[in-house]
């Protein structure tokens, strides 16, 4: 099959005539022209970069809330004596005694942290930024299937974030990111501005849902319809598989949170009563509604993270991913099972029958995740491993995700969960999965594709320092929380008993290390943009299309010629990467006569 020519490749929908060979980052004219060009772009790469900037900004906001939470928990101030020992203690917002309402501020902080991190950072993080940038490049397409919808999704994201920030400005929301009824429908009395800030926050989550649906829908169609000639389903890079699995969940689960939040707004404004016990409604029904979305969405968070890890491990060990099909199918299996395990968030509130069924299904979902980890580790076998920053992040991911996954086991176990539910153990568990896995993978991915996205190399030395700070800081912050939770520390507490003091202090100190680590990365990125050396098209020796067939940074229409796929994404044993310097990579062993890698 040869290339397909279109009468107007290079103009038409992409904003008039311009040179074929100009990088997508090349400014279109004066400053205002350039800004307008970005604001009205339908180029998936620019949208990906805009998403990246927006997400990192929200990550900063959410991170500041997290630092405030940890600061508040540095010490309990209330001293209580029972029978000679200190028992329950009090609260202090560490900013000083002028803030008289310690608890209220604390509650708002952790709510903002949760809502921002979930709805505005982790859900869109990898798919909307890296996914947007890379999906068409990896598939050999000129763009995603619906470029205008893609731009719309970014604006919708910004609109949603504005509502969230408005809620913060109005004084913040104290419902927890889960908006459990009837608390979320009763808090903040009617008749003043405070009454509306929760509506604003719920509306923000509702709007962000649309952004998520648009992205997911776009990606599903792109993967189905826009693969380059010669690229079958099992010739796709595993990154695409991961994004595809997440996109399916986004399409099928997000509408349910849409209707849930809509009903919640009705509930709050008009008391329609569906979730209101006083009207005969059922608050546990809300939890079912909520978790029908919010559990699958956990896999929207982790699958793209896993997707990144596939690419990084393959590239930096110069190996085919061990058991490609098993990894691909486990992605789909996770996506499918994720829809029927939400009840494990409700072991303490739902009926026994449902709890038992949900517990059983929950253990099922552990299998595909375990298979993935085994396959990644097996991929390292007989590889040629280069410990670059992205690879360190990938190995860090394996370390942290294994902990995160294993600590899911006691939470899925019925009897043990009755003890651990809503404790710090849960907090630690999902931070290991969401931050320790998704965010770590995200940062690793940013480093891996940084030269491709911006055409400049970053400083490897400082990036590695950043990695070690993040990795150590993360473990110091969150590992003590496992012990804390199992010993009896409830989550969302502004104060605690003295036996938890030492854990909290270690944890808070860890959060500062983490912060410093992120600042180092910020420095590395800015330094690279300003003074990084120019990147070759394929600095890491990848075999996927974005490395072999696109420039760094890619040109406006991604490829000079539509790429034709004639080898698998990880056939390092047979193919030498195009555009890469042979000196940098160990050559494969000579091919025995007649042998094939399959």
């Amino acid at each position: 099959m040869t290339t397909i020519t279109s009468p107007h490749a290079g103009h038409g929908d992409h904003g008039g005539h311009h040179d074929h060979d100009v990088s997508y980052l090349h400014p279109k004219g004066g400053i205002w022209t350039t800004i307008w060009d970005w604001a009205s772009t339908i180029d998936h790469k620019k949208i990906g970069v805009m998403y990246l900037v927006a997400i990192l900004f929200m990550f900063f906001l959410g991170g500041m809330a997290a630092i405030a939470v940890r600061l508040e928990l540095m010490e309990p101030t209330r001293e209580v004596t029972v029978a000679g020992k200190n028992v329950v203690t009090g609260q202090l917002l560490a900013f000083g005694q002028s803030l008289q309402k310690g608890n209220e501020n604390y509650n708002r902080m952790f709510t903002l942290h949760g809502a921002i991190m979930v709805f505005m950072v982790i859900v869109p993080s990898v798919p909307a930024s890296l996914g947007n940038f890379l999906l068409p490049l990896m598939l050999g397409a000129k763009d995603v299937a619906f470029p205008r919808l893609n731009l719309l999704s970014w604006y919708v994201y910004v609109l949603g974030s504005i509502f969230a920030v408005a809620a913060i400005i109005m004084g913040g929301v104290d419902t927890g990111w889960t908006f459990y009824t009837p608390y979320s429908t009763t808090t903040d009395v009617e008749g003043n501005m405070a009454y509306w800030r929760i509506v604003s926050m719920i509306l923000a989550a509702f709007i962000l849902g649309f952004s998520s649906i648009f992205t997911g829908l776009n990606f599903v169609v792109t993967v189905h319809k826009l693969r380059a000639p010669g690229m079958g389903w099992f010739d796709m890079p595993l990154f695409v598989w991961g994004i595809y699995g997440a996109a399916i969940i986004q399409v099928l689960a997000t509408p349910v949170i849409g209707i849930t939040l809509l009903l919640l707004i009705f509930e709050r404004l008009f008391r329609i009563g569906i979730f209101d016990p006083a009207m005969g409604g059922d608050p546990v029904l809300f939890q079912h509604f909520f978790w029908f979305y919010s559990h699958p969405v956990v896999y929207v968070m982790i699958l793209p993270g896993m997707a990144i890890i596939n690419e990084i491990i393959a590239v930096y060990s110069r190996k085919r991913i061990f058991g490609y099909r098993a990894v691909a199918f486990s992605t789909l299996a996770i996506a499918a099972i994720s829809f029927i395990v939400w009840g494990h968030h409700l072991f303490t509130s739902e009926g026994e029958v449902a709890a038992v069924v949900f517990s059983a299904i929950t253990f099922l979902v552990a299998i595909p995740s375990a298979i993935k980890v085994f396959n990644w580790i097996a991929t390292l076998y007989k590889g040629s491993i280069r410990l670059t920053t992205p690879m360190l992040y990938a190995l860090g991911f394996l370390f942290l995700f294994t902990i995160g996954g294993l600590t899911g086991l006691p939470l899925g176990t019925l009897s043990v969960d009755l003890h651990l539910h809503d404790s710090y153990f849960v907090v630690a568990h999902f931070h290991y999965v969401m931050m320790g896995s998704t965010i770590i993978a995200f940062i690793g991915g940013i480093h891996h594709w940084w030269p491709k996205m911006f055409g400049r190399m970053y400083n490897e030395f400082f990036a590695k320092i950043g990695f070690w700070l993040v990795f150590i800081g993360f473990n110091v912050t969150f590992f003590p929380q496992f012990m804390m939770g199992a010993h009896g520390m409830p989550r969302r507490y502004a104060s605690y008993t003295d036996e938890f003091l030492i854990y909290h202090q270690i944890s808070t100190i860890g959060s500062w290390v983490l912060l410093v680590g992120f600042l180092v990365h910020l420095f590395v990125f800015i330094h690279s943009l300003l003074a990084g050396r120019l990147a070759p098209p394929n600095p890491c020796g990848g075999l996927t299309l974005e490395w072999t067939d696109a420039a760094s940074p890619p040109i406006e229409h991604n490829f000079h010629h539509e790429p034709v796929v004639n080898h698998g994404p990880y056939d390092y044993d047979d193919v030498f990467p195009k555009q890469a310097d042979p000196k940098e990579f160990p050559m494969p062993a000579p091919l025995p006569a007649g042998a094939r890698a399959h």
Partner: protein
Amino acid sequence: MSTLHADHAPSGGTYADRYVAAAHFRDRDHEFESVKMGVWLFLSTEILLFAGMFVGYAILRMLHPEAFIAGSGKLSTFWGLLNTVVLLISSWTVAMAVRSAQLGKQGALQFHLIVTNLCATAFVVIKLVFEYYPKWQEGKLPGKWFSYPYAVDPSEPLWWGIYFGSTAIHATHVIIGMGLLTWLLIRARKGHFGPHHYTAVEGVGLYWHIVDMVWIFLFPLLYLIH
């Protein structure tokens, strides 16, 4: 295989004949197929949006069967039936509109779009004038507006919450559909659609059918089950 057949923009003909697919698609067929799949995915999100209402209905009905029986008895089956008929007919006209576009019959296309829009208007008018308005006057309203003194079950406001919630969300979809149909009509008058380019007609048609389909379920659930 030699070069595939590409979209050669013909010089003459109508807008629809001259239409070329967006640059990242191979040709018009490729674009049509992709858009159609996108629309189907969107429709599945619509179904899952209404799924929330259906699940809420099912659970609350189990908890308060009497409130639901009492509430359901206060709806007028006649108007519900009429609305179902109106909507089914409009679904047929939309299907016919797609057919007209496929065959290039511009007049029939416009006619069917207009009839569909009239049906949609009729649906909304019936809903507002003969269903919502009398209930509003009697105080059979959801939640805090409920002021109907003859409730036989304390959870009756809940029923009205479900009734008004699901029908209002559905009616919103009908109204959005009316906007889309009008947009189609304007484009059809400009001759934008023809046998080789009717993607928008097909997409809006599918959307309209899903709106119809949701009503096919809402009608028995709200009006008939007692």
